[in-house]
Symmetry: C2
Subunit: 213 residues, 2 copies
Amino acid sequence: MVVVSEQGSRAQKRRMTGRQRREQLLDIGRGLFAERGFDGTSVEEIAAQAGVSKPVVYEHFGGKDGVYAVVVDREMQTLLGMVAGALHADHPRDKLESAALALLRYVEEHSEGFRIVTRDSHAASGTGSFASLISDIASQVEHVLAAEFRARGYDMSLAPLYAQSLVGMVALTGQWWLEVRTPSREVVAAHLVNLAWNGLSHLEEQPALGADS
Amino acid sequence: MVVVSEQGSRAQKRRMTGRQRREQLLDIGRGLFAERGFDGTSVEEIAAQAGVSKPVVYEHFGGKDGVYAVVVDREMQTLLGMVAGALHADHPRDKLESAALALLRYVEEHSEGFRIVTRDSHAASGTGSFASLISDIASQVEHVLAAEFRARGYDMSLAPLYAQSLVGMVALTGQWWLEVRTPSREVVAAHLVNLAWNGLSHLEEQPALGADS
DNA sequence: TGTACAACCTACGGCGTCGTAGGTTACGGT
DNA sequence: ACCGTAACCTACGACGCCGTAGGTTGTACA
């Protein structure tokens, strides 16, 4: 996508500052990890796309794992930030709506990151036994849900189950939507909320969002 | 798990018939793919676990892709078979129930296959652009759902969206349940159905299954 | 103008894996 | 008892990738 700036007809050998190069490498790494996964990406390729040789990458990140770790960390950060920032509504349904919208916005604007996060696996990097990045997210949702359950007097021990269900729902739908890109984000969100909130037996035919866009 | 039969104290060099060896290699391959993924598994390892050398694997399957293809194909077959076989109920809710139960039964009894199917990716093997094995399954669900939508007079073009949502829901919940192994299959199924059918706003506190076990 | 450091390079060694060439051994049939 | 074939083996060559040792060049600043 973003080609290294060239001067005139010949490719200029530009020399960057440390920070610049670092950011550039992260961008490229994100793109490659999203497209080919962790194993399918080589350090050499990252370096090549940056117009630079391997040792530069090692200098900055110590290896492929280093690049991956930073990319993932940042991506999780922004994802959680966007969703958490959309959780200030009062009514649970409004929370659901804005959360769904926020997540789809993340999918749209950071699709590479989303691809990485959903692809996940990469064998045992998390603390517990259950690796998956998506499940890390689900366990965040779990807290929100547990609070809601408590307020309603439901069995809180079931929060994990419902959290996984909800996250799985929007995660796979997000992946699908990323490919087909239709209908619009708002419509998808409306239907996701429709299903999650009303269930199949009370589906509305023309679900609409009520919150701020 | 299943150790090649030994005679007495020394490991006997058993010579198998083609079919036997083939099946054994598939079993081992399934296990390894489930545990370490496609890229993380080497032909040598498959052969070693079978107490055999590499060329045997190449003789039978032509390479790693060959083994993977057969394993995946069979697994998809059984999965779809089990779910499709549970779809003979009349009332949509009963369909949902037995489908959920069937799927969880698959997760329980063929957990290795389930791990492979959910891990998926493995870059572009399917026909279309959207690779994911799980999405192949979702597109099957799509048909069932479309028929149901038509009967209810809903917009059929939305079937894909809801299919993805439902499949994503049970897929991620299945992964989670595979790790924690609690509560029981029936309870999980009951809650899945509870969410999918009633939605968050009409959740029942003590959901129960009504169909045959 | 020269010098010190940051940015960058070429080159190599090592490892794991794939896939194949060509030879060896068990075993059932006659 | 022998023989043909199916099952199996021991190499081997090639490739891609990781990670590092040690040298080179641009550039800011005195």
